[in-house]
């Protein structure tokens, strides 16, 4: 046997409270799931606060956070780890998932549907009563400490038939439904995050809601809270509101000339 050294990726520790505006009882529910050692699935459209929520909970529960953005090239080794050769030695490097398990962290797998099915199955034993991670490559079985928590997310909005979560995966998770918050709550978020007045924030939210009316009628998704925050940030740094919305909202939602023109009409109508 060669001598094995472990290298562990950096874990993110969140010391300062990330601003998160709760919408419902999601904070209490998440705490309960954490206590019960259950994995969590966050469903919701893009830019509605899923990532921010997980960061907030990591801070609240005082656990490190490991985030992995899934894509269709993500292999099991990318999650679990691989051997490297350093000089004359083979060195095992933990992947982010293994690191999170060892450290009792929250592991957040963003956009899980993008990952390949064979990659998704490695999380199965972690996401049920066994709570273990099998590292086949060197025959190790890592038992997850009680603090370890698995969180996955996906956007059910427009799902391709080529990408579906298998029921055997999804049924291991406690599911949370996320959506864009009510106008009043969203305006609070936009004002706080974007640094704009309540009046501007309300107009931005109004614009956002109008674009959401177009979902399925030419747009795949309306403007997310994230886009509205972006527009607000541009405004806060001195850009005129119309120009800010054109750049942050109208152009980023569509390439279709008719649609962009209509979105521009909406921007002009609101401001």
């Amino acid at each position: 046997m060669t001598k094995q050294t472990h290298i562990t990726p950096q874990l993110m520790r969140i010391d300062e409270e990330p601003f998160y505006q709760s919408v419902d009882d999601e904070i209490e529910m998440f705490e309960a799931a954490a206590k019960a050692g259950l994995p969590v699935l966050l469903k919701g459209p893009t830019g509605c606060g899923k990532t921010r929520f997980v960061e907030h909970m990591a801070w609240k529960l005082k656990r490190p956070l490991v985030t992995v953005s899934c894509h269709d090239d993500l292999t099991t080794s990318d999650l679990i780890g691989r051997y490297l050769i350093v000089g004359d030695e083979t060195v095992w490097v933990d992947g982010p998932l293994t690191a999170a398990v060892r450290a009792g962290a929250i592991c957040y797998l963003d956009e899980i549907v993008e990952a390949r099915k064979d990659t998704t199955v490695v999380i199965h034993p972690l996401a049920d009563a066994r709570r273990v991670l099998n590292i086949d490559k060197h025959g190790e079985q890592v038992e997850a400490p009680p603090e370890f928590m698995l969180v996955i997310s996906y956007n059910p909005g427009y799902q391709s038939v080529l990408k579906e979560i298998k029921p055997s995966t999804r049924q291991r998770f406690v599911a949370f439904d996320f959506d864009y918050p009510t106008a009043a709550v969203e305006a609070k978020i936009v004002a706080a995050e974007g640094g704009v007045s309540d009046d501007i924030a309300q107009k931005l939210v109004k614009l956002g809601q109008m674009t959401r009316n177009l979902k399925g009628a030419g747009l795949d998704e309306g403007a997310s809270t994230r886009l509205l925050v972006h527009a607000a940030q541009l405004i806060a740094s001195g850009v005129k509101p119309q120009a800010a919305c054109t750049a942050a909202v109208a152009r980023s939602l569509s390439d279709d000339p008719d649609m962009t023109a209509s979105l521009q009409d909406l921007v002009n109508a609101v401001f």
Binding site: M1, T2, D73, T75, S77, R82, Y83, L84, I85, T90, K137, Y158, Q159, S160, V161, L162, K206, M210, T211, N213, L214, G216, A217, G218, D220, Q242, D255, D256, D258, M259, A261, S262, D265, L266, V267, N268, A269, V270, F271
Partner: protein, 674 residues
């Protein structure tokens, strides 16, 4: 002129280019005449005409020569852009009609110039409808029905918004397009802010739409009413859409002086129709009149009420803007004795029965049970069916075995020119979809751990070394290889060809299929197109338009053009048959996309209502269990309430206006498969 690059072409040079453009054309006299006509033109004009002569020659020598002969006259009166439009219009004319018609078009220069100048400042419904539609859907959250008004007025019956076919009231086209947007928004505001309904007054007395009827067809009163409402509605819009209101103010200019006294009261954000009517009555006691304003939509209470009655909307609800407004029920003297009792879900019905209310009743071939139908002449003459399928009888909770007799019926080819017309109409869009699909196609994949390939797989190499050292057997899969992304996808388009799709729905279906096919040819997706309809369970029909193994060629194109409305909508059997065909395809992913215009319905037996819905649902469920994913696109604005149940196991989308179907289909396809 010293620079030879800009000198005029000599006669012989022109001659040569004309001969090259029209090789072997027998009309040498005509060619000579055209050449002589081009000689005195400027070099830029000569180049312009010769360029278009060459382009037109691709289409017809005769027509190209005709155009070139008339070109000098045309260029006396048209600039280069106008000239190009003139030529393009003529070529279009030839594509749509024939050469003689196109020649006649070129000869009638006066007519073209008249329209060209005019068109410069006119906006048409077709120019703006798409944008207006999106705009209103965004602000209202509803799919509105917007149509051209035959009398060229802007008005609404609270269900449909009518707009003039063209607007030329303002000096330039851009302003006229804005005017469309403003008019449409004000029409929506009429319904949203209660032009046809007012809250009960303080004395508890309801001020209903009948208040409007008392002005009858008094033109002055209606003109004043429209103006006063325009003031009131503008104030209502101010809170949410200040930018739009500024635009309206700019278009209309200052309010006419005669309206001044009304402004303070009607500009209050909480002013209601009652306020408008009081002000109006005060005006009517004087002899004040005001000129009609460009942007104020017509209010035509008589017509509006007539349409509402014709729709038998006894719930009295306006169809759009309904959230905050409601109609009072009509007083009986307003009803001319027609039956008004329409079933509403949950009343007087078997639990779960589909209501036969007007909201679903727009299907023109859906007959009432008590109407005697002519006996289907084929009833006795059925040959042995091509296929037999079971059907789900929800009342018995069991299948009826081999209940549906299915026949494969060929589609009669349609007009071969149709496809080109559609391609022309949507050329910009086809290009756009293609570009998007190209991106899917372009995504190559790297496969790791291959036995050979174009580069080393570092991970595999390292493992190899480690396994070697550890004494276990190393793998020889050490390469990465780039491959074309294999989608392994088979798609079935199942197209409703029931009688109710006759006309615009059919046309939208045909156009969608052409757009899809034109774009899908880029991808290697295996796809098929079948229509379905039928008449009773003994004559269910399926119409192959493109089989999986068929190429998208002229014969398929002609069949798409031949898609037309037939009989009824027995959907379950079609889903079963087509999912069987789909299943036979070896692809890993199988997708069934249905396009229909309403709920399943058949004549003569119980397929109508719940039975049909349950059977269709069951068939989709069966398909799902066999790994087929279904997506249903429905063109039906009002039926959305039964769809979640009907499409239970499938996903679906309601496309409110048929004209949006082609574009939407392409987008849906892209989303479902990337």
């Amino acid at each position: 002129m010293t620079n030879s690059a800009v000198r005029r072409l000599f006669l012989s040079e022109i001659e040569l280019r004309v001969e090259n453009a029209l090789p072997g054309h027998p009309d040498t006299v005509g060619m000579q005449r055209a050449v002589q006509g081009l000689e005195p033109l400027s070099r830029a004009q000569q180049d312009l005409v010769l360029h278009w002569l060459e382009a037109a020659a691709q289409s017809s020598f005769e027509l190209a020569l005709h155009m070139a002969t008339l070109a000098p006259q045309a260029l006396e009166r048209l600039d280069a852009e106008g000239f190009e439009i003139w030529v393009l219009n003529g070529l279009d004319m030839k594509d749509r009609e024939d050469v003689p018609t196109a020649k006649a078009f070129f000869r009638d220069l006066d007519d073209f110039i008249l329209r060209y100048r005019y068109n410069d400042s006119v906006a048409t419904f077709d120019d703006v409808i798409h944008r207006t539609y999106i705009f209103l859907q965004a602000i209202s959250g509803e799919a509105l029905d917007i149509r051209v008004d035959e009398r060229d007025k802007a008005w609404t019956d609270t269900q449909v918004m009518y707009l003039p076919y063209e607007l030329a009231a303002l000096p330039d086209a851009a302003s006229n397009r804005k005017l469309y947007k403003v008019m449409a928004t004000l029409l929506w505001a009429q319904t949203r802010y209660g032009t046809f309904y007012a809250e009960p007054g303080e004395d508890g007395q309801a001020v209903t739409q009948n208040a409007l009827l008392r002005y009858g067809s008094d033109e002055r009163a209606l003109r004043l009413l429209a103006a006063l409402e325009a003031v009131r509605l503008e104030a209502k819009l101010l809170r949410d859409l200040p930018g739009l209101v500024a635009e309206i103010a700019e278009l209309r200019g200052p309010w006419p002086a005669e309206l001044e006294p009304a402004l303070p009261r009607l500009s209050q954000p909480d002013a209601t129709l009652a306020d408008t009517l009081e002000v109006l009555d005060a005006f009517l006691k004087t002899d004040v009149d005001i000129p009609a304003m460009v942007h104020a939509a017509t209010i035509d209470p008589t017509q509006t009420m007539k349409n509402i009655r014709a729709e038998k909307r006894t719930d009295g609800k306006p169809r759009f803007g309904a959230q905050e407004i409601a109609f009072e029920p009509f007083p009986s003297d307003f009803d001319d004795g027609e039956a008004v009792g329409q079933g509403v879900a949950g009343e007087d019905m078997e639990p779960g029965d589909m209501p036969s209310s007007t909201s679903l009743g727009k299907n023109p071939v859906r007959r009432n049970d008590d109407v005697v139908m002519p006996v289907n002449p084929n009833t006795q003459l059925f040959p042995e069916p091509d296929f037999k399928y079971d059907e789900w009888d929800y009342k018995r909770g069991a299948y009826r075995e081999e209940w549906c007799h299915l026949y494969e019926v060929p589609v009669a080819p349609g007009d071969p020119a149709y496809v080109n017309q559609v391609k022309h109409k949507y050329r910009a869009y086809i290009w756009q979809i293609r570009r998007q699909l190209e991106m899917i196609k372009g995504e190559d994949k790297m496969l790791s751990r291959q036995v050979d390939g174009e580069e080393m797989d570092i991970d595999a190499m390292i493992e190899h070394v480690i396994d070697h050292r550890n004494g276990s057997e190393p793998s020889d899969r050490l390469f990465r290889r780039r491959v074309r992304n294999e989608r392994s996808l088979a798609v079935m388009f199942m197209v409703d060809m029931s009688g109710s799709t006759k006309g615009w729905v059919n046309n939208a279906e045909r156009e969608s299929l052409i757009l899809l096919c034109e774009a899908l040819e880029l991808l290697n997706d295996n796809y098929a197109i079948y229509g379905f309809s039928g008449w009773g369970h003994k004559r269910c029909e399926i119409y192959p338009v493109k089989r999986f193994d068929e190429q998208y060629d002229d014969s398929v194109r002609a069949k798409i053009a031949g898609i037309e409305g037939k009989d009824f909508t027995r959907m379950g059997v079609a889903v079963r048959h087509l999912s069987k065909l789909l299943e036979e395809q070896g692809a890993r992913h199988k997708l069934l996309i249905t396009i229909s215009d309403g709920y399943p319905d058949d004549f003569g037996d119980e397929y109508r209502n719940n039975y049909g819905i349950e059977d269709t649902r069951r068939a989709l469920q069966e398909a799902h269990e066999r790994g087929i994913r279904s997506f249903c696109v429905t063109i039906d604005r009002q039926g959305a309430d039964y769809l979640p149940h009907l499409y239970g196991p499938a996903r679906y989308e309601v496309v409110p206006n048929a004209y949006r179907l082609p574009m939407r289909m392409a987008e849906i396809y892209r989303h479902l498969t990337t």
